[in-house]
Amino acid sequence: MSEHIVPKSTYYAIFGALMVGTALTVGAAFVDLGPLNTIVALSIAITKASLVVLFFMHVKYSPKLTWLVVIGSVFWLLLLLGITLGDYLTRGMRTFG
């Protein structure tokens, strides 16, 4: 098979990083950062998810078409969240009423 075989050492390193990320997110949850708590939690989660996608799911070594589909999933998700929030967050703005 001609596909890239990721070395086992890479998998162990990513595993370690994911465990550190888990410890960090638990630790950060007990520190009162106000609204920053959510941003910190989501930043850590997005970093962890990116590591899984890039290395465990081999996207780093995949053709551009795979990248396009992966980025597409994020794009559609942001549309889903963005357009729905764009509705709910602006319902208080009564332009015509």
Partner: protein, 230 residues
């Protein structure tokens, strides 16, 4: 039906190569892409629930923080570690498949399934605890303080739907892994034909990613609130 000789005339190529592909490499690229397209629909499937969560959390931040504190952070963190561990064993199974090490492949698939089962067992313990504390949405739902009860019920509804849908994905994952285990043991999976393990791995890792988001969003909201006694 064509006679066996005609239907199965592989002309010397690999028996698992579908006839509309030129090579196993081409077939591998196509099946990987197909899995990713499926995962895009899964992102949006879970995305709708994350959207509902976001909105209700924005509306009722206090009830969400109080409810989140009722979840057991130890079980949540433990299960996060279990799933990350299962992603590692899955990745190592893919490696073993690609290098043609059959006994290692079988071992890592079994380890992945064991960790997946541990995850579901812990989820079962947590669900039982919710029933005991009347934190299951419905007629017997009860929450202190009562002033936040209605909104806490929304949190717990989302908790059960999101973790429940995730658990269903885990069960499907265990089914896929059972299938892959059979294929690994009977010799269908070879160094040349490792694609089924690879794309099953993609699914398993995706389910792990969903939990990576569920854990902080469900378990870690109100941890800085003063300790509640009741």
């Amino acid at each position: 039906m064509l006679p066996e000789a005609v239907a199965h005339n592989h002309g010397g190529h690999h028996p698992m190569l579908a006839h509309h592909f030129d090579s196993l490499e081409e077939q591998n690229v196509a099946s990987t892409l197909g899995m990713w397209v499926f995962l895009v629909t899964e992102v949006l499937f879970f995305g709708g629930l994350f959207m509902a969560y976001t909105l209700y959390r924005m509306w009722y931040p206090d009830a969400f923080a109080l409810s989140s504190n009722e979840l057991d952070i130890r079980w949540g963190a433990f299960n996060t570690a279990v799933l990350i561990g299962s992603s590692l064993t899955m990745a190592l199974a893919v490696h073993a498949a690609q290098t043609g090490e059959r006994s290692k492949l079988v071992t890592f698939l079994i380890l992945t399934m064991v960790l997946g089962t541990v995850f579901l067992g812990v989820k079962g313990i947590e669900y039982a605890d919710k029933f005991e504390h009347h934190h299951v949405p419905g007629l017997n739902f009860h929450f202190e303080p009562v002033s936040e009860m209605a909104h806490a019920q929304i949190f717990f509804s989302l908790y059960f739907v999101m973790t429940g849908l995730h658990a269903i994905h885990m069960i499907v994952g265990l089914g896929i892994m059972t299938w892959m285990l059979v294929w690994s043991m009977n010799g269908t999976i070879t160094k040349e034909y490792a694609s089924p393990i690879e794309i099953s791995g993609l699914y398993w890792h995706f389910v792990d990613i969903v939990w990576i988001f569920l854990f902080p969003l469900l378990y870690l909201l109100g941890r800085t609130l003063p300790a509640v006694t009741h």
